[in-house]
């Protein structure tokens, strides 16, 4: 196995494009090293992106935030402005594993590992996050919901890497939240995850985005759930509609953590709770 730690995204892309064998990007390594250890993957090349300044920093830009692909969960929670702007995204990422894991694990790793139960992904999608994808001589920016195509698969082409995630500057009176349900209180994988962001004006929801995790092969945006909220002051009727729309959108598996019927029901329950938190964070009276 060849190990490279380039200093720029361009060099990283060139290394990955040139490699004929199996090549992997190493950010936090919390998924990759476990897979290597168990023999699930035997890379010919590992490209460590943690020496690339563009990938290891959080930049505050005029349009919002640019979070490097190698930025750890611990770095996110240390960033006050980001925590204030998008608490749901930071909290979702911080739910992944222990403090030790948070010292390494990244949002982009969580995204590219492409688990249906990835905690940071529904929160990112709800917040309108975009992935900055760099390939040889090309750079494209796509909404995060366009990255994962199924369990373990992404739309990234060979030689492409995600350099960063961008989050917009939240509009005034915007709030976001992410909640997940796990059988244990900590150190577990989501049975259902719900990310919601919404903006209000005089208490009325003007814009909303709802995204579910762990109830389908990928995280799913639920436009009907957002429509249930828009125009409401988050009254019980709107919340009932939200819950129903979320449950309807579920297409989950049965497994040891939860049955399909259970996941479907819990999706609605969690969506109600997440919407209330987001609404409060937007400045709405609870």
């Amino acid at each position: 196995m060849r190990y490279e730690s380039p200093a720029t995204t361009k060099e990283a892309v060139a290394l990955l494009a040139k490699e004929k064998g199996e090549a992997h990007v190493l950010a936090g390594g919390t998924d990759l090293l476990v897979r290597m250890k168990s023999g699930l993957t035997e890379p010919a090349l590992v490209v460590d992106i943690k020496r690339i300044p563009d990938m290891t920093t959080i930049k505050t830009t005029q349009s919002g935030f640019k979070i490097g692909a190698a930025v750890s969960g611990a770095q996110l929670s240390d960033h006050k402005a980001l925590c204030k702007a998008w608490p749901g995204v930071v909290e979702a990422t911080n739910l992944i594993g222990s403090d030790q894991i948070q010292g390494r694990a990244t949002m982009v790793g969580n995204l590219c590992n492409a688990s249906p139960a990835a905690d940071s992904v529904p929160a990112m999608i709800a917040a309108g996050a975009k992935a900055v994808i760099v390939g040889k001589g090309k750079r494209r920016t796509v909404p995060v919901e366009k990255v994962v195509t199924g369990p373990g698969t992404t739309s990234l082409k060979r030689g492409e890497v995600i350099e960063a995630i961008t989050l917009p500057k939240p509009a005034k009176r915007t709030g976001d939240a992410y909640l997940r349900f796990t059988p244990r209180t900590e150190m577990d994988i989501a049975v259902v995850g719900v990310g919601i962001s919404l903006s209000i004006e005089r208490g009325v929801v003007k814009k909303a985005k709802v995204c579910l995790g762990a109830v389908a092969p990928t995280a799913i945006v639920v436009p009907g759930a957002a429509r249930a909220l828009v125009g409401s002051k988050l009254d019980d009727k709107a919340l009932d509609k939200l819950a129903a729309a979320c449950s309807r959108a579920c297409n989950p598996i049965d497994d040891k953590r939860g049955t399909a019927a259970y996941r479907t029901r819990v999706a609605g329950v969690l969506a109600r709770r997440a919407a209330k938190i987001a609404y409060q964070r937007a400045g709405g009276a609870a």
């Binding site: 060849r2 190990y3 594993g97 403090d99």
Partner: protein, 162 residues
């Protein structure tokens, strides 16, 4: 066969050089090449925290880091906690509270607890439990560990005031 790479790093303040295969994890480099056997292997998959160390001050599992990644970084292990032959207050309180039995998880708990107290000198019991949720102990039932950390934190705050 994997390529070997020469790594220059600082471990507990001392410059250390080792050559390691590119696919070797830092846990093995520290144990087998640097000789620091305080770093324990429990699960090897980042679930148990027995191999907790710090890299540039950040708490991590050494089983989920490649040995080559340590190049140019600063590593902290349990061996660096005692100063001039005197145990760190956490180590002392673990003994006093009998916060260990078999001892395999202890170095990881100590490193993780120190990382917590460095950031938060006055953690609540809840904060301690969350901060140590990535460290598994199959002997003590955790309670003595939590008490030891609380007691150590109290002493450390006192000595800082003095």
């Amino acid at each position: 066969m994997s390529d070997a790479v020469l790594v220059t790093t600082k471990v507990n303040g001392d410059v250390v050089e080792y050559a390691c295969p590119t696919d070797e994890v830092l846990l093995d480099s520290l144990r087998d090449r640097v000789g620091l056997t305080g770093v324990k292997e429990g699960c090897g998959t980042g679930d148990c925290g027995a191999c907790s160390v710090t890299i540039d001050g950040q708490l991590v599992c050494a089983c989920l880091v490649l040995g080559v990644e340590a190049d140019g970084r600063e590593i902290g292990t349990v061996e660096g906690m005692a100063e001039e032959g005197e145990l760190h207050p956490l180590q002392q309180k673990f003994i006093e509270h009998a916060a260990l039995q078999c001892g395999i998880c202890t170095p990881g708990f100590l490193v993780a607890a120190k990382a917590l107290l460095d950031k938060n000198p006055k953690p609540s019991e809840n904060e301690i439990r969350y901060a140590l949720a990535g460290n598994l102990c199959r002997c003590t039932g955790y309670d003595k560990i939590i008490r030891a950390v609380q007691d150590a934190a109290k002493d450390m705050r006192k000595s800082r005031k003095r």
